[in-house]
């Protein structure tokens, strides 16, 4: 009952959803654009950063993380940190080869 009430209290307005959608489309455009630039070793890093920002937007608004209790935010942060470290460590090998 309480959960149901909480869910009803957090209806995101269409205008916000539309802004998020436009933001995601813009970042998709940026992703495609940067593939044409020669960023060398940073190509993958830039693509991943843009992807992370897009993922963050989806989680925050579309998946309602914004309205959740702090524990879920800590969990998501922990997961992002984990994947970041995994990717950084993998590239650590390539950087020194």
């Amino acid at each position: 009952m309480e959960n149901h009430k909480q869910q009803q209290d957090h209806i995101t307005p269409y205008s916000t959803m539309l802004k998020v959608l436009v933001g995601l489309l813009f970042l998709t455009f940026v992703t495609i654009t940067v593939t044409g630039l020669h960023l060398g070793a940073f190509t993958v890093a830039v693509a991943l950063i843009i992807a992370c920002v897009k993922g963050g937007i989806v989680i925050t608004w579309f998946m309602h993380l914004k309205n959740e209790t702090p524990i879920f935010r800590y969990m998501v942060f922990g997961v992002l940190l984990l994947y970041t470290l995994i990717i950084v460590i993998t590239f650590f090998d390539y950087a020194f080869r």
Binding site: I86, F92, A95, R97
Partner: protein, 533 residues
């Protein structure tokens, strides 16, 4: 609203379904646990039989009972079955499903239908794996690791085997997700995090690895498919790829997967030891938090599988350093188990024998792991029988013996019948001797230079291989004795009673076998989980 609850136990209450449908359509966590028990035991016996055939081939030098290609297929299939279908789901799927809700004072897992769906996924993956062995172009010959370029070039049934592992991974993810939500949301009133028993703690740490690491191997396996089907160059240098990238991606999952196997095993041991020592577990919080520490640090040590792969020197010392760190929380657990036993009133019963064996064998596995975790010594024993011995001491000596401990510990509660303890102890002795005779010689011939995954060998390795094969026969005898003894107890065993071992966690307070919804009234927890009077 409180509904009328059935007082029939979960075996008697078929919920109006008949025959096999009462099992394969049931969403009761206990019945699903039994489904996994039957499936996993069956696959364990098949995988064990394949291992036995390999030992038969290796009992004498030269081609004896099979050719090299068949041997390649056998060790690949043995690995796929044992890793993906037995030891990864093993303890969590069987005993986690059956006992997690009861131990935290819940009526079921958070998502019972998803739980049943996970079993169906598991069976689908398992059938795909079986299909890959017998259909089309023959059993895959890449080893269970599917290393590129073997897996991208092999003409054998790699793709069905890869899909099998992919589907099995989904099952694992969903089970992990279910356990995380169950533990967060469904603990009984008063059961704070530090009043939760240690087996659920270990399942919680494991579940996070299942949820976060498994997708990585799923994607990696699909990259193999993409490379084979569409010539996308992920791993093939000729297409612009990098074979070492495959090893990175594979071990990013597969090293944490070792902890998916071993953490629940450690949880089982943490339950059994206090019960048979009649003492609160020493260092409860240290054991609980060390599970989380192992799960966390365990993510960052994958590179120790790749010291000789061509990885950079800087990355190698980095991974070696982290590997030594992960030994610390494992050691914390062992010290605490031994400290729990110190000055305890030890009741040496069958589950305790297996638990004590676990500590002994896991220590051998762990300490030989230091030889492999250390850069300088690993180079000499990499890809030798030493690695095979170390791996089996950890996985079989660890997870396998823990599974045997768990089945003997919880069997009376699961089925309401007590097995013949004398026969169980004899079986334990045979299993323990057989295990060591099988695997210990492989340390020695490994150091002497016997490579792994070879179906033939030089004459100087004959004695070691022969002893090892004799050990396999002894081990198989013990396992068959153990299974027959347990199965006979279903028919002839004495009633077990509610609490045959004097345990103090919640599963020992519910009727034997447990009723469908576990508790008439959800208990309120007021004290530490291991409080012995």
């Amino acid at each position: 609203m409180e509904t009328q609850k059935s007082h029939l136990n979960y075996i008697e209450d078929t919920q109006g379904r008949k025959g096999i449908f009462a099992w394969i359509l049931s969403t009761d966590h206990k019945r699903i646990g039994i489904l996994y028990l039957i499936s996993i035991t069956t696959f364990f016996l098949v995988g064990g039989l394949l291992g036995g055939l390999m030992r038969l081939e290796l009992a004498a030098p030269g081609e004896t009972v099979m050719d090299a290609q068949t041997y390649n297929g056998l060790f690949t299939v043995h690995g796929i079955i044992m890793i993906f279908m037995v030891v990864i789901p093993g303890l969590g799927a069987v005993f986690g499903n059956f006992f997690l809700p009861i131990m935290i004072g819940a009526r079921d897992v958070a998502f019972p239908k998803l739980n049943l769906f996970s079993w169906y996924l598991y069976m689908t993956g398992a059938l795909l794996a079986v299909y890959s062995q017998f259909a089309g172009t023959g059993a895959p010959d890449t080893g269970w690791t599917f290393y590129a370029p073997y897996s991208t070039d092999s003409s054998t049934n790699v793709i069905p085997a890869v899909f099998a592992a992919f589907v099995l991974g989904f099952s694992s993810i969903l089970t992990g997700l279910n356990f995380i939500v169950t533990i967060h949301r469904m603990r009984a009133p008063g059961m704070t995090w530090f009043r939760m028993p240690l087996f659920p703690w270990s399942l919680y740490a494991t579940a996070w690895i299942q949820v976060l690491a498994t997708p990585i191997v799923g994607i990696t396996l699909m990259m193999i498919v993409a490379e084979r089907w569409f010539q996308i160059g992920f791993f093939d240098p000729a297409l612009g790829g990098d074979p070492i990238l495959y090893q990175h991606l594979f071990w990013i999952y597969s090293h944490p997967a070792v902890y998916i196997m071993i953490l629940p095993a450690m949880g089982v041991i943490s339950e059994i030891i206090p019960t048979f020592v009649k003492k609160a577990v020493f260092g409860y919080k240290a054991i609980a938090l060390s599970s989380i520490a192992i799960a966390g640090v365990g993510y960052f040590v994958w590179g120790h599988h790749m010291y000789t792969s061509g990885m950079s020197g800087t990355a190698r010392w980095f991974f070696s350093f982290l590997t030594f760190i992960v030994a610390v929380p494992s050691a914390i657990k062992v010290f605490n188990w031994v400290s729990t036993m110190y000055k305890g009133s030890i009741d040496v019963r069958t589950p305790f024998l297996y638990a004590a064996s676990f500590i002994f064998l896991f220590m051998i596995g762990g300490l030989t792991g230091l030889v492999l975790g250390s850069l300088a010594s690993d180079v000499h024993v990499h890809d030798t029988a030493f690695v095979v011995a170390h791996f089996h001491y950890i996985i079989f000596g660890g997870m396998g013996f823990s599974f045997f401990a768990a089945i003997h510990y919880w069997w009376p509660k699961m089925f309401g019948k007590m097995y013949n303890e004398f026969k169980a102890n004899v079986a334990w002795l045979i299993v323990f001797i057989g295990f060591n005779v099988l695997y210990f010689p492989q340390f020695i011939i490994g150091i002497q230079g016997m490579p792994r995954r070879y179906f033939d060998y030089l004459p100087q390795f004959h004695t070691g291989h022969l002893i090892s094969s004799i050990g396999a026969a002894i081990l198989l005898t013990g396992i068959v004795m153990m299974i027959v003894n347990l199965m006979k107890s279903r028919k002839n065993g004495n009633p077990a009673g509610i609490n045959p071992w004097g345990g103090v966690t919640l599963e020992w307070t519910v009727p034997t076998p447990p009723p469908v919804e576990n508790f008439d009234e959800i208990p309120t927890i007021t004290e530490h989980p291991y409080t012995f009077d």
